[in-house]
């Protein structure tokens, strides 16, 4: 019953409470992303099976032994996805056994081992949440921030610089300062294209891409020059211990406060976008700049502001990775978090809660990829394929509607009835 009332609530009243309704506005808007994910995994499975030598061999004998071909296909997919999700979520039985061992003998090793996979997925999800929020804020203002990757890099460099430059600050000052260093560097990198767009009408897509390259090459230079640690390796020094985001568990578990911070920031962005005048203006500009201008909203200010917030979040993403996991920065620091973030924002419908859920999904996929690569011998690149497929289906919902015979007019029908 409650479900039905939620669905039937007129959309005008939905902004009043912090609840799931924004993302779950009618089952309709969540159904498509879920089906997109499902379809992506199915096609991913086909790719896995189709690139497996034993499966191909079995299919060549399909007419002699059709059962064997199907069995080989099934085994190949089951092993791969079993390793993928076992490697990203762990086994509940092992976790339970680990807890039991801990309480009966005081030995936590088994428990630690059992929760390692899921903590690793959360570690991977952390920068994804920040970066996804960054792109989502841009989308809400009608800006396509492709520069999250460059801002991520600059944020990492900013925070690592603050992190290693001071040696005797207490953690309560040093850690926030290092985080701010990351935010500031990322915000600066975002502000430039924002300003150019607002002042000169230069397209932000072009300028954020260009800022990426400036960021990459600048980091090359910094890592080989001013920020290089003593010795020959082109990496920065390690940050001071006081600047580290504390880990929850002993090594090798790397889950840290960055994850909690990410959830906190996601809520903060939700509040900013939907509960404040600033957020309202940003969204108004995103919905229709001309109307916003006519209504007296300062377009220039909002473009710059949105890009500053977006860049700051991407910078924070880099900072969380440096301060929580890596503690130093070298070349190839990022595996493309900023680019994946575009996908996360799209999949999450640019809503903070959607972004968090999408980031968790990406964290699980990336986290399990290592184990899948090792146990099933499947290249990590398959994960990129699955991610890419999901995005294609999210970006082109008509494919999903056609695949699953979903009628598109449901929403309008509801409104006209009301």
């Amino acid at each position: 019953m409650t479900d039905k009332t939620v669905k039937d609530t007129p959309s005008g009243k939905q902004d009043k409470k912090f609840d799931l309704r924004h993302i779950f506005e009618g089952s309709y808007s969540t159904l498509l992303p879920l089906l997109a994910i499902f379809t992506g995994l199915v096609i991913g499975a086909i790719v896995i099976a189709a690139t497996d030598a034993t499966v191909i061999a079995a299919w060549q004998n399909f007419f002699q032994a059709p059962g064997a071909a199907l069995a080989a296909t099934w085994t190949s997919i089951a092993v791969a996805y079993g390793a993928l999700f076992g490697g990203s979520l762990g086994s509940p039985a092992e976790i339970f056994a680990g807890i039991q061992t801990y309480f009966s003998t005081g030995d936590s090793a088994a428990f630690m081992k059992a929760i390692y996979p899921i903590t690793e997925s959360l570690v991977t999800a952390t920068p994804y949440i920040f970066a996804g929020l960054a792109v989502a804020v841009g989308f809400r203002c009608g800006l396509f921030n492709i520069g999250a990757e460059g801002q991520f890099f600059m944020g990492a460099l900013g925070s690592v610089f603050v992190g290693y430059s001071f040696s005797s600050l207490p953690a309560i000052i040093h850690l926030p300062l290092a985080l701010l260093g990351g935010i500031a560097a990322g915000a600066l990198w975002g502000a430039v294209p924002g300003y150019l767009k607002a002042k000169f009408g230069a397209h932000e897509v072009v300028n954020t891409i260009m800022m990426n390259w400036i960021g990459f090459r600048l980091s090359d230079w910094l890592l080989n020059g001013p920020m290089k640690s003593p010795g020959f390796r082109p990496v920065t020094r390690n940050i001071a211990e006081a600047a580290e985001l504390p880990h929850f568990f002993p090594d090798p578990l790397r889950l840290n406060w960055g994850f909690i911070l990410a959830l906190l920031v996601a809520w903060l962005i939700y509040w900013l976008l939907f509960k404040t005048t600033i957020g309202f203006e940003i969204r108004t500009v995103g919905a229709n700049p001309d109307a916003a201008k006519y209504a007296g909203v300062n377009i220039v200010r909002n473009f710059v502001l949105a890009m500053v917030i977006s860049g700051g979040l991407a910078g924070l993403s880099g900072a969380s990775q440096v301060l929580g996991v890596d503690h130093w920065v070298g070349q190839g620091f990022s595996a493309g978090y900023g680019f994946d973030a575009i996908a996360i924002a799209l999949l999450g419908k640019s809503h903070p809660l959607g972004v968090v859920l999408s980031a968790l999904l990406f964290g699980v996929l990336r986290g399990g990829a290592t184990r899948m690569q090792s146990l099933a011998g499947i290249p990590v690149d398959i994960i990129s394929i699955i991610q890419g497929l999901v995005i294609v289906f999210v970006a082109a919902p008509d494919i999903i509607r056609w695949l699953y015979r979903i009628r598109p007019a449901e929403k309008h029908a509801l409104q006209s009835r009301g």
Binding site: F18, T101, Y102, T105, G106, D107, S108, A109, F111, M112, K113, Y116, E120, V123, R217, D220, W221, N224, S229, P230, G231, F232, R233, P234, V235, R237, N238, H247, F248, F249, P250, D251, P252, R254, W257, I260, L263, L264, W267, W271, Q321, V325, D326, H327, W328, G330, Q331, G332, F333, S334, A335, T370, R371, Q373, S374, G377, P379, V380
Partner: protein, 362 residues
């Protein structure tokens, strides 16, 4: 605002519970309760795992070459070999951990960027054997070095074998050959970064050219060393080769991984230069350019990795340092394209002289 406080409070409580959960196991001693009983009777296949650096397994450079060694060992000794690719620096520790979880006997890590993570894992798991390409321990020197952070270990590790290569010996031969083959009297070399594993090729090359000048009374010039600053951009490789040609060079040795393929592409299109490959034989790994590959400086990482695995199989594995030289086949040069019989004879003699110490490459 009230709502803000409520949510903050909830989050605070949630985080406190989370940390409480985290704190308890920290305090507990992490002692294994009972040693697992290993069935000693049945021979278990030896497991070898390779962790690549960011170049990936098909980098046509040391990751690929090292894995060729693993595959050869798998064919010869029946070991099981697999690899994990690193896509970012936080993957290094994660991938090593994955192999540790699988009770891998030998973990091969590729590249100096894995230096710290390898040492940390080796110290925590003294029963597991490691081999690291292009690195060795101890690596903590100077006042600023912090063990486990900026460097791996202050002392030699008994379960880690560092695989290093005297590539200057092979670079010397390539320089000698280049000096003999140049038509313009100018040759050039550039690197990805100014770091020892790169510059050692270049200094050897330069020394080889100078040796040729001394022996033959010529004045072949090596253009000043430059660096692209990265190991990725084939555009840089193209641009560097182009500018060297404009300065009069007709042979270029790029020491920058895949960047060099850009140089090869330029030389092939313009027909104005030849390249010297590094790490492996480019007439094989980059066969489309084989007409303009003069020779290749071979860094036989595969031989070193194979030898390390063989030591595990034989039970003779010891930590320390493996140095690949011309004498033990760890380094060498590939066939020289269009070389005269006289040059080949000279190179052969030079190889013997370097191995015996009669000719110094530095």
């Amino acid at each position: 605002m009230k709502k803000l406080y409520t949510v903050l409070a909830v989050l605070l409580v949630a985080t406190m519970i989370l940390t409480a959960c985290g704190a308890k196991p920290t305090a507990a001693p992490a002692e294994p309760t009972a040693a697992p009983v290993e069935p000693t009777a049945a021979p278990v296949a030896i497991k070898v795992g390779q962790v690549t650096d960011l170049g990936g397994i098909d980098d046509k450079s040391f990751n690929a070459t090292a894995y060729a060694g693993v595959e050869k060992a798998a064919a010869d000794f029946g070991i099981t070999g697999k690899y994990l690719e690193s896509q970012q620096q936080s993957d290094y520790a994660k991938n090593i951990q994955q192999f540790l979880d699988e009770d891998t006997d030998l973990i091969v890590t590729v590249g100096f960027l894995l230096g710290v993570d390898t040492a940390t894992a080796a110290k925590a798991n003294p029963d597991t054997k490691f081999a690291i390409v292009d690195y060795s321990y101890p690596d903590c020197f100077g006042d600023t070095a912090v063990e486990g952070q900026t460097c791996g270990s202050a002392s030699e590790l008994s379960n880690v074998l560092g695989l290093t290569f005297q590539t200057d010996e092979a670079g010397f031969l390539a320089g000698y050959a280049a000096a003999a083959m140049t038509k313009t009297g100018k040759v050039a070399t550039f690197g990805g970064l100014e770091i020892p594993p790169v510059t050692i090729f270049m200094t050897g090359f330069e020394a080889g050219v100078k040796h040729y000048n001394t022996v033959h009374g010529t004045a072949v010039e090596v253009l000043p060393f430059t660096y692209t600053g990265n190991f990725e951009s084939t555009d840089d490789g193209r641009a560097f080769a182009e500018s060297f040609v404009q300065e009069g060079a007709d042979i270029v040795m790029p020491v920058a991984g895949p960047v060099g393929l850009g140089s090869a592409a330029y030389c092939k299109e313009s027909g104005s230069c030849m390249v010297i490959g590094v790490d492996n034989d480019w007439t094989v790994s980059a066969a489309e350019y084989k007409d303009i590959v003069l020779t290749s400086v071979l860094k036989n990482t595969n031989v070193a990795v194979y030898d390390a695995i063989k030591m595990i199989v034989d039970g003779t594995f010891k930590g320390g340092l493996y140095i690949g030289t011309l004498a033990n086949g760890g380094v060498g040069i590939a066939a020289v394209n269009g070389a005269s019989p006289e040059l080949l004879a000279e190179l052969e003699k030079l190889t013997a002289d370097i191995s015996s110490g009669a000719v110094k490459v530095k």
